[in-house]
Symmetry: C2
């Protein structure tokens, strides 16, 4: 049952990311948003071309080692699912390993492994992606296999039922047995009053339990086609080599029908703060978090997304952040505190703050202290020193991200699959540098609006009696 | 602009019901659920037949006056709308008055009025209904006109745009300008984590603003057909007369395609209580309410819906209820308090409790007192006297409902359109009589689960500073 455990592993990162980042975003977010500040000096020479069947191809040369990262990204995620079939995008991702006419069920990953490579796949609200990392000489084989399953997936009823048990078990172990995940789901469902980001990527259990071969094939036929995909090849290759191989393996893949614009139901105005409280005996400590409805880079007015990124870096990023210094170091109200902003997401970004209150500290004290941190920034701004430090932290993250071949592949893939242009990706660090103190003040006042927030509180069950009057 | 004001009037009842009954249910609920306890002695002799084109016809004789009530109910409501086009069911209801080949735009209601009758229409989460009340001799005319617009609606682009302004204005005046309605919407959106009952019947403003002639015609073609409709004729007619007229006017109406089962995405388990707070300067007083996710008669385990009905009568119905006697009379914690259960709804019912705290009383005090009321019932039960009084109150409501011809028409129409059988309707009072004290205790413990609740608090804006630490 190696494949089963692989199936579980495949989405581990995604599901744990769900806990804090509202089910909409991947852990790869940071890597995607980071980019060199001086592209010409150290950034990769990325090339792009579009094939006749609509496949977008991006080549990211990286000659440090004779390996390649090959990824196919489909512009479809959980938020594109039809009502009532939540989880189908992720289920199909699992089923993509069930074989074709050429590849026997379960063989895909084994072939990669036998050739010394590794593979994986993941699903988010906006994308579904397949990943292989192999020695350079195996790139043709990997391309052939990935192109094959873009059109020719073969699903047997029995394999579908077996795999459905796998995703149900995945949900049980990752969500039902984890109070953080459970609370995260309820927070997302309360944060999004209308938009499908409120529905978990993995699906609601009662809907997952009914997912069928027919549902999976329908999703496959609707969304899996070269004109809805992006091929990313990063590694020890040239653009010409990739072009030649793509012509051989991907050109024959049939184009699908044109897809309509990805228009999901957007949020109505939020006019009242919401609170969600989960008491659970499996919870270790009282934990506090707050999520705000915020735009993504795609949907924000020009400059707002970049300013939110810097704001959250200064306010909540790491142990030198304002939040940490006040709550943990100075006032000793919390044993841990932080937060973040994610600019990715086709329709909305994500902004969250969390704190673990120290013993004896009330939720009210935490909230009041956190409000103070942001109000102070909105009113008084920050020092240029702090802003510079945040910029430098960003660049450092970027350089680190650039070091990773798969990080680069993910950065480009995710961004392109959610509607960024290559220009958007490459100019993002430059745009971040232009953020001013006034921008930070403006977005702090504009977006940290309690009316568009959900506060989530996790309470260890033992405290239940004490909470009750 | 008589027609405009009529358009506004048409849904007044619906929108005000939304405030407290979670957008899913009509004000007609009580009438539908009530029924004589001894049908043979005083209940109407209802007859039913199905026409070849699928139209269900129900005749309710009432010979007290030479008038008839004619209603057509479509088995479609706001919860059947496609994602992103919220409000289309209600918008089409308005547009149904825009005329056909035979009737000029806006003439429908004028013709009824010129003949001394009145007409109306309304939309809920589960149904859309059209109503006329006329002197008996005008029944053929009304049938001809209603049958005509079932197939032959004619929509001009300019009429659609004008009417869209009407519904937008309707939303502005009934919802945006009313903090109770605004809060109600946010509560529903938080109560339903997945099910479309969380989306308001009138629609979200940003989606209503984009509703088009094409959207309306699509909804019309999908759902308006005899095989998706129920004709109710109540009044001074016999079954034979109605049959003759229906054969003449409704038989020629073309059957539509078979419709799939009305399966909406159902709720995942609710594991954490939610709170929604609206501060609004237009709010007069601090107001508290709590809503629970509960089954409807259609979806509840046998007997649970009836027991919830009796429970809420005893606990929250009127000034002799336990809640009122404790909170208002004895403890003087509230100036008003009540609640109710609605058994209607295709997928879920509705259960809510509200209180207006007296000056100086905190939300915590109110919640604690209300919890006590229900915990006491769950633990200790109630007296047979109280249960009898609740039963009698029910019968009294029923007799009153029976007196109203239009009330009877609505009771049967709504119930049939949401999947009840005539037998369900007629046996409901009998089933209510079978509810025992133990049943009340059981459902109080089972359904008043804080984890499936949303608590909504309306705070007058002036109090904002005081609320803040």
């Amino acid at each position: 049952m190696k494949h089963v455990s692989k199936g579980l592993c495949r989405t581990l990162k995604i599901v744990s990311a769900l806990m804090f980042i509202m089910g909409a975003l991947l852990t790869t977010t940071k890597a995607i948003n980071a980019k060199d500040d001086a592209k010409s000096s150290s950034g990769p020479e990325v090339t792009y071309f579009k094939m006749e069947n609509g496949l977008d191809v991006v080549v990211i040369p990286d000659h440090r080692a004779p390996v390649v990262t090959h990824m196919v990204w489909y512009r479809v995620g959980a938020a594109d699912e039809a009502p009532g079939v939540s989880g189908i995008a992720h289920f199909l991702e699992h089923l993509m390993f069930k074989g074709t006419e050429k590849i026997a069920p379960g063989e895909f990953s084994k072939i990669i492994a036998r050739n010394g490579g590794e593979d994986n796949a993941f699903t988010s609200q906006d994308v579904t992606a397949y990943f292989q990392r192999v020695a350079k000489e195996h790139l043709p084989m990997v391309m052939e296999m990935e192109a094959d399953r873009m059109n020719n997936l073969k699903l047997l009823e029995k394999d579908v039922l077996t795999e459905r048990d796998v995703i149900l078990e995945e949900r049980r172990s990752r969500v039902e047995n984890n109070p953080n995940s459970l609370l995260g789901e309820q927070i997302s469902a309360s944060l999004y009053l209308s938009h499908p980001y409120g529905i978990p990527v993995i699906g609601w259990m009662h809907e997952m339990a009914k997912l069928s071969r027919k549902d999976a094939l329908e999703h496959y036929k609707n969304y899996y086609a070269p004109n809805n995909a992006i091929l990313i090849v990063a590694g020890d290759v040239t653009s010409d080599e990739v072009k030649r191989l793509a012509d051989k393996f991907y050109a024959p893949v049939k184009r699908g029908p044109d897809l309509p614009a990805r228009e999901r139901p957007m949020e109505p105005p939020h006019v009242s703060p919401r609170r969600v409280v989960l008491e659970d005996e499996r919870a270790g400590k009282l934990a506090w978090q707050r999520h705000y409805l915020v735009p993504s880079f795609k949907t924000a007015p020009k400059g707002d997304s970049e300013a939110l990124e810097m704001l959250m870096k200064v306010a909540t990023g790491g142990t030198t952040s304002r939040l940490y210094k006040k709550l943990v170091v100075a006032d000793k109200l919390a044993s841990s505190a932080g937060g973040g902003y994610s600019a990715s997401g086709l329709d909305y970004g994500g902004l969250y703050i969390y704190a673990i209150p120290s013993k004896g500290v009330t939720v009210e004290q935490i909230e009041s202290a956190i409000d103070d941190v942001f109000e102070k920034i909105a009113k008084e701004g920050i020092s240029e020193l702090e802003l510079n430090r945040a910029r430098n932290a960003y660049i450092a993250d970027y350089v680190y991200g650039n070091d990773s071949q798969s990080g680069l592949a993910r950065r480009y893939g995710f961004a392109l699959a959610t509607g960024w242009s290559i220009q958007d990706i490459e100019s993002y660090p430059e745009r971040l540098k232009k953020v001013t103190v006034e921008d930070l003040q403006r977005v702090a006042a504009k977006y940290l609006d309690i009316n568009s927030s959900v506060t989530g509180i996790l309470i260890p069950k033992a405290k239940k009696m004490a909470e009750k009057k």
